[in-house]
Symmetry: C2
Subunit: 366 residues, 2 copies
């Protein structure tokens, strides 16, 4: 949590220390640009919910580092933090910096654990610079071939796919797995792990281009366009033996199409419900929640919600397996890069429309 704090509030300018620090840095940056939560969205976020600000960068104190954001990850979970309702993590306060995982470069250090030039994984949020005491900041694992991968296939989305598919999904050879957002950061890895484990992998994605990519590049056995009015029938045809593992990351209409195809003893790792994140009210009746529980009972389904931060003990196994699979060409990965911090809100809003094609990142600096 500390790394999310607005460093401007950390104390008044200590002029002597600042002078010392800047002499050591040479042309040290003095201004930070950041995007704050201007107001809480009603339904889908709009540009008015964000505000770009410029703030001074205070001098480093002993033990602190100054990090420049190189890569900012944009992820669906951020929508939840913009609301006030209860969630598994505290919501972002009004006028606070939007949170987010980053790959950052240490540009000044008064902390012996970090050196200028270190590339680190941080939660600096939607801003160009952040000062930290180093808590929660980790140097990039040397197995990560490109720094931005630490925010995707070899980072939180990757381990979410890994833990959800393997630990919770318990896939068995010959079974059928379905995942939506099949070309996204999580879904693409889920489908490819399913193939490695000998399952039939069926993806759902928005539009022909993404579906073609899922089948031809990622190796899915089939991919259904959720914009097609016949999506439920197409999904059924693509799952002739029903669904044994449904990796749930979207909810909404896809879930409705999946439910009738769920097999006895199916597992449903539940990691996100992006289609519902912007909902302001419940869908009109009838209330199907009792029907849903009845289905879980009759089909002996296991549904398990999981938050990946509780599975970080799986990181070594994950990095070991994934590095190997990537080197062997068995996991492919695609990034969708927006340049410039000022374009982050637009890119983020596109997430909920499926505008991105691959893991969504903002390149904040070179």
């Amino acid at each position: 949590m500390q790394s999310r704090r607005n460093f401007i509030a950390a104390g008044s300018l200590a002029v002597g220390a600042a002078l010392l620090a800047r002499q050591a840095l040479g042309a040290a940056p003095t201004k930070n640009r950041r995007i704050v939560l201007a107001k809480r969205p009603q339904g889908e976020p709009t540009p008015a919910d964000f505000r770009l600000e410029e703030t001074p960068i205070p001098a480093l104190k002993d033990g602190e580092i100054l990090m420049q954001t190189v890569w900012l990850s944009l992820d669906p979970y951020m929508r939840g933090r913009m609301s006030e309702g209860p969630s598994y993590a505290a919501s972002t306060g009004l006028n606070e910096v939007m949170i987010g995982g980053t790959v950052s470069r240490v540009v000044a250090s008064r902390n012996p654990k970090f050196s200028e030039g270190d590339m680190v994984l941080s939660y600096s949020g939607w801003q160009e610079y952040q000062i930290s005491n180093g808590g929660g900041i980790t140097k990039l694992d040397p197995r990560i071939p490109r720094p931005s991968y630490a925010l995707g296939v070899l980072g939180m989305p990757g381990i979410t796919a890994y833990v959800g598919t393997l630990d919770i999904g318990q896939p068995k050879e010959g079974e059928t797995l379905v995942v939506a957002a099949a070309t996204g950061a999580v879904g693409s890895v889920v489908g490819q792990i399913a193939k490695i484990k000998g399952l039939r992998a069926v993806g759902i994605a928005g539009g022909k281009e993404k579906c073609d990519y899922a089948v031809k590049e990622l190796g899915f056995d089939a991919c259904i366009d959720h914009r097609d009015a016949n999506m439920p029938a197409l999904l059924k045809a693509a799952c002739p033996k029903g669904i044994d593992v449904y990796f749930e990351n979207v909810g909404g209409a896809v879930w409705d199409a999946v439910v009738p195809l769920i097999n006895t003893h199916a597992r449903i790792p539940l990691c996100g419900l992006i289609a519902q994140y912007n909902a302001t009210s419940l869908p009109a009746g009838p209330d199907r929640s009792s029907q849903l529980m009845g289905m879980f009972l009759v089909k002996q389904v296991k549904v398990q919600g999981f938050i990946i931060s509780n599975y970080f003990h799986r990181m070594p196994a994950f990095l070991g397996d994934m590095s190997q699979w990537m080197q062997a060409g068995r996991i492919k990965y695609r990034e969708d890069i927006t340049r410039g911090l000022e374009n982050a809100p637009q890119a983020f809003m596109g997430l909920f429309k499926g505008s991105n094609f691959g893991k969504l990142l903002v390149q904040v600096a070179d």
Copy 2:
């Protein structure tokens, strides 16, 4: 399945064999009374859905046994078999004998594995006699102190409570468990196992008498009367630290009261939804199924439907633990006995009104 078949249809009377068999038996029974499914219920079952019939008992063939039903178990799951919709087991055909677990006495045997006088666990259904080739029939375990217990605390309801609470519920000392139908065959055992494992056990039952029994006799920490209009508030007050394990066997209004109290990482073993079994349509009002999935996600809940027939490998552990706990006085058990096969429909209909107090049984013969 074979044991559910109507033995009358098994073939025409083989007169010679019948004479031989009856000579061996002495005063062998010649007439069977049985209750068949007359029509499929709409909503709650009514007397018109059942029909009492008298049929002749054919002679035994080589390898067969004739069993007299002593105890017939009446259980909520039978409601599902009366409907045509998909369930985890085939529905009972019209004019077929109502299915049901029984404790029966072998009154004639042409099968070397069974002797006259053997007490067996069978699925003879709602009838006085059944002929079987012995398939699926097991002699009562000698650890069972009273034959009728094989249909309750030491039978299917007992192992359902055991597996759901321990294997799926994964209870931890100091946690809070909630179960409805707290004085019933399953719920009473769930609560007592929770106490043995060091949990706070909160029951829900219908009426003061049952609630008093749950607390004073069974050792629940609290028991809420679901007929009280303040049930949700009372349940909340009884669970000051929320709910970690909710053993779901009723659904309906109890589930609605439980949902807001569910803790992060809660487990929900789902073994029945008796409040919904008679539903003919979905409840009106906003569709809360997406909200439910959202709660499972945010709270990282595990929901797992289970059918006890898939857990019979746990029978030895179950019988071992339960026998020991019963001998030590740590598990108490109550039966609600109706005499006479003809009274089975009325007793069964009472199950859905909570008329029974303890495990519901029909004593068909002495």
